[in-house]
Subunit: 587 residues, 2 copies
């Protein structure tokens, strides 16, 4: 039965190209047992092929360890997945707009098309992911953090989950700016699942039977972000920041290698899919390089950082409130436990009602995709002067920021307020979805109102950094726009926003999700939220590991020392009242 | 006596501005003991002042912890030091060239001016640093690494050392492109010393008596690089990579905060010292942004990475050979132990002989400073087409790459070969000096010979990354030139160069220095060089810590458990034959 499962896995995996050789090597590894099955045909041919494949494996291993091929494959495959998803989403959005355009003049049909399309898609995504793999909803980042802290979370790394998450996320993104959710978090989860699978594969090829390490998972977290945007450096920093409380240097090179492979593949695929384009920054801006900013503007950036920090606290408060509300309100609770599809459909219908271009949607630029909006916002043309941005000028003309004739800043303020509570509502949807990008996006609008030059850029970094308690958004903004001269002020804004967001033990977005999902919490959470229940140490360390009680008798200690092959033995207060100590201190 | 020392320290420190308030707060902390000294005058006034200062301290603490002021001060002061050094060095170099120019026509006088000026400066630096603080020579990075791994290295963090190192390094840099050494390494050391001092100060203000943590040191390592170039991100990554085998996330925000402060101060000082300039990249290039590079060029970048990796192995071999040679050859050994000043003077005289503009120097562009050379090389104008670089066009005209009329590529090849062995020789000088920047610089020349477009950029990153076994040079190149679209290929080149350099347990530059200096080695070294002697664990852990022998009797174990207040007790094979276990596992 086990070997059947394995062959099934191999067949499933063969859809992912670029690793055929590894599959074959894997098959070849079990050469002796297979030859024993005398009833199988073509014994000689198979033996020959297997011999060749074994040679290939040795040849590959002579260049570098098999795990390095795994890291490269992980990066490339994640980037391919990311590109495929972008491609499908773009087509689905195009189809929606095409249909909407065709129905011009029939306002009722247009209304139905506008509202039912995303509602149906989201309802489908919700039911599908609930029925196939209920663990695929949400962003997945809190679960990955829990796994990286050494706690096993079953079913979260299965291939079924990966398939469900990929399809569900495509549907969520296809709902467009109505639902307004992102893809970063789920991609971290997707790449972790891919990483876990490749890790198993590598260990099979190497013939090792030892347990899975966390190496591939740490790498996968970096690759997820890197492949989403082709931004390897911020990907690695995100992995360092979000994932655990310590970062081992031996993961550093694999992380960068895999992220660079992923980023490169993503860029190359973008280039090859659109003729004439080259390897540019994803959201190209043409800020004046001669005078990036003036020294005194730094004070404004600092102020902006503080404002974003305050805004993030308010946003997080709203988010936690609605998470609590959906868990306590009986109507919501019933809907969310029994009728996920219906709930998603209704909420998205309601949101689409608001963004309908003939109603409030005319103030919300609702016909644009999230990417178009972001491009337009990062363009820094101050909304009145001509565009610095060369590559997207054509797209910009179609943006409807001021189609209603209302003043642009009033329109933006309205946009911000609406999007904020709509996003909070959208976060309750039981769908595979990311919450980072909307936050990254929501913030530029807010800061534009301040009319600071380039503040979009800094605001985006500062606000999303404050919400997630990370600094990598500053770098992400630099990598996305290619404005390296703005790295220092962006970093400064993000740091100040973070300081405000973290003050008085403020919880990050992911911490909030972890608590809401009742996941075994990380040491950072314990500090921020002392009223949380402790997880016994034994549950974390597994059964086999030897512990010493503080009040242990001589015989007990003697046996512990002689039984343990470890260099260190943890000393706990008592077996009964163990506290959750810093798990990473044990590695 | 102790209080006298303290007041002396305070007086010394008062030269460093921007932290007067902290000094005062420190003094005010000991308010009660001072009031007891009834013979001191103005008791009432002093008490009043101290009361105010205590209030100020509480006021500061109410915003954020005192250590954050320490981090900010560290960044700002290091940047100020870096700027001051750049300023003095520029003046000294200018004076040299002015004198040389005035002597035009008197070739003997010109020769003496050219050779004796750097020789005297270096001889002075060598004798001075030897006599005042012999620990100030070299780069200091290996010692900082040792300290960060938890081993105390006495005298390396004293203020005397800091003063000596600063003056010595200024002299070394003032010798210009003849000696061709850098400032990164010593600046890491300088900022570590400053950090250790500020750490003591912060703990005094807070009234804590606990031992110094490594936090300020980790931060200081990041600040050193960030302040040298105003490149905060690569500074932090350098600190992550070089300093230890694990990186604790609680150091992450302090590192970025301090590095951002340092980078910002450095940029602002540069702006304010030269009118009309704004906050640009340090070595501005104008690579065409529309077509940064073509997809197939990536293969060339990969090839370049491999070439740089091979080159770095050769360079490291030469470097280790000469380090060994100077330790075994009797003439060198006698010179280096007794007549450091004379040795430095002679070697620099010899080097200056070669770079004399009327001899071989005409092929070596020896009249240019290191910074001018770097600017010219990163300019990527392919040596024949017109310059992409707007800001340095004027300087470029004065560069003498082809003054001799010889073909430019022959000239470059000659330049490379000469600089390579001259650099290896210069590395033996007993001076405070950095070895990173010359390596970063030496590589573009090499790769220019390949005529790959922009390869300078990638070559610089790949070669210096390979020599030091780090990836941060890729990011440093991006930050220095502001070319973020080149991040991915630069990362790729650096990764491949690293892979080649690390293969077969290759030692990094810093590992080589650590071994040559017989420093207690890091776990990474142990893996690469198994024949190294082990350091007993007890020496590392100090006397107080409790250990358990594997074969300990019950009584011994009982006492160990009851005596220790730690959560873990290390178990060693035996007290006599302890092996140097991974020190970081104990943190």
């Amino acid at each position: 039965m086990k070997s059947f499962d394995k062959s099934l896995e191999i067949e499933t995996e063969e859809e992912g190209n670029a690793q055929k050789q590894e599959n074959n090597s894997e098959a070849s590894h079990n050469v002796t047992p297979l030859l024993l099955d005398s009833w199988k045909p073509y014994k000689g041919t198979r033996a020959n092929v297997k011999g060749q494949l074994l040679k290939l494996r040795d040849c590959l291993e002579s260049v570098c360890g098999i795990q390095w091929y795994g890291f490269a494959t992980l990066g490339i495959l994640t980037a391919v997945l990311s590109f495929l998803m972008d491609f499908s989403v773009a087509k689905l959005l195009q189809a929606h707009l095409w249909l909407y355009g065709k129905l011009e003049g029939h306002i009722l049909l247009q209304f139905l098309c506008w509202t039912l399309y995303p509602a149906c898609i989201c309802a489908f995504a919700s039911s599908f992911s609930h029925n196939i793999c209920p663990f695929s909803t949400g962003s997945g980042v809190p679960e990955v953090r829990t796994m990286l802290s050494g706690i096993e979370v079953p079913h979260y790394l299965s291939l079924t989950n990966m398939f469900t998450k990929f399809l569900g996320l495509t549907c969520t993104l296809a709902a467009g700016s109505t639902v307004f959710l992102g893809k970063v978090g789920p991609f971290v989860h997707l790449s972790t699942m891919l990483g876990a699978y490749l890790d198993r594969l590598c260990r099979l090829i190497q013939g090792k039977k030892k347990d899975a390490g966390t190496e591939m998972m740490v790498v996968a977290a970096a690759v997820g972000v890197a492949s989403c945007f082709g931004a390897p450096v911020s990907g690695v920093l995100f992995s360092v920041e979000v994932m655990s409380s310590h970062f081992a240097l031996r993961h550093y090179c694999p992380c960068f290698f895999s992220a660079a492979c992923g980023g490169l593949t993503f860029h190359l695929l973008s280039v090859w899919s659109r003729d004439g384009e080259t390897l540019q920054a994803l959201f190209k801006t043409n800020f004046p390089t001669a005078t990036p900013f003036f020294p005194l503007e730094i004070l404004l950036f600092a102020l902006l950082g503080l404002l974003c920090g305050a805004g993030s606290r308010f946003y997080l408060f709203c988010h936690r409130w609605i998470l609590k509300f959906t868990k306590t309100n009986r109507v919501f609770l019933t809907m969310l436990t029994t009728e996920k599809g219906l709930y998603s459909g209704l909420v998205v219908f309601f949101l689409a009602l608001l963004t309908f271009p003939h109603s409030a949607g005319q103030y919300l630029a609702s016909k644009c995709t999230t990417k178009q909006l972001l491009t337009s916002l990062l363009d820094s043309r101050q909304w009145s002067s001509q565009s610095h941005n060369a590559s997207v000028r054509l797209e910009l003309d179609s943006l409807e920021w001021s189609s209603s004739g209302a003043p642009i800043f009033l329109s933006l303020a309205f946009f911000l307020l609406m999007k904020m509570w709509m996003l909070v509502l959208a976060c309750t949807l039981p769908l595979p979805a990311g919450y980072f990008m909307p936050v990254f996006f929501g913030s530029p609008v807010k800061t534009e109102i301040l009319r600071v030059r380039h503040d979009l850029f800094h605001g985006a970094a500062a606000f999303s950094g404050a919400v997630t308690h990370t600094l990598s958004p500053a770098l992400l903004a630099v990598e996305l726009t290619g404005q390296v001269t703005h790295a220092v002020p962006a970093l400064l804004s993000t740091l100040l926003a973070n300081a405000l967001a973290r003050s008085r033990n403020g919880l990050s977005f992911y911490d909030g999700l972890s608590i809401s999902k009742k996941l075994p919490h990380l040491p950072s959470l314990k500090k921020a939220c002392p009223q949380l229940p402790s997880t016994p140490l034994g549950q974390v360390m597994g059964v086999k590991s030897v512990q010493l009680q503080k009040a242990a008798g001589p015989a007990e200690v003697q046996s512990a020392v002689s039984n343990s092959s470890e260099a260190q033995i943890p000393v706990v207060d008592s077996h009964g009242m163990q506290r959750a100590v810093d798990i990473h201190a044990l590695y």
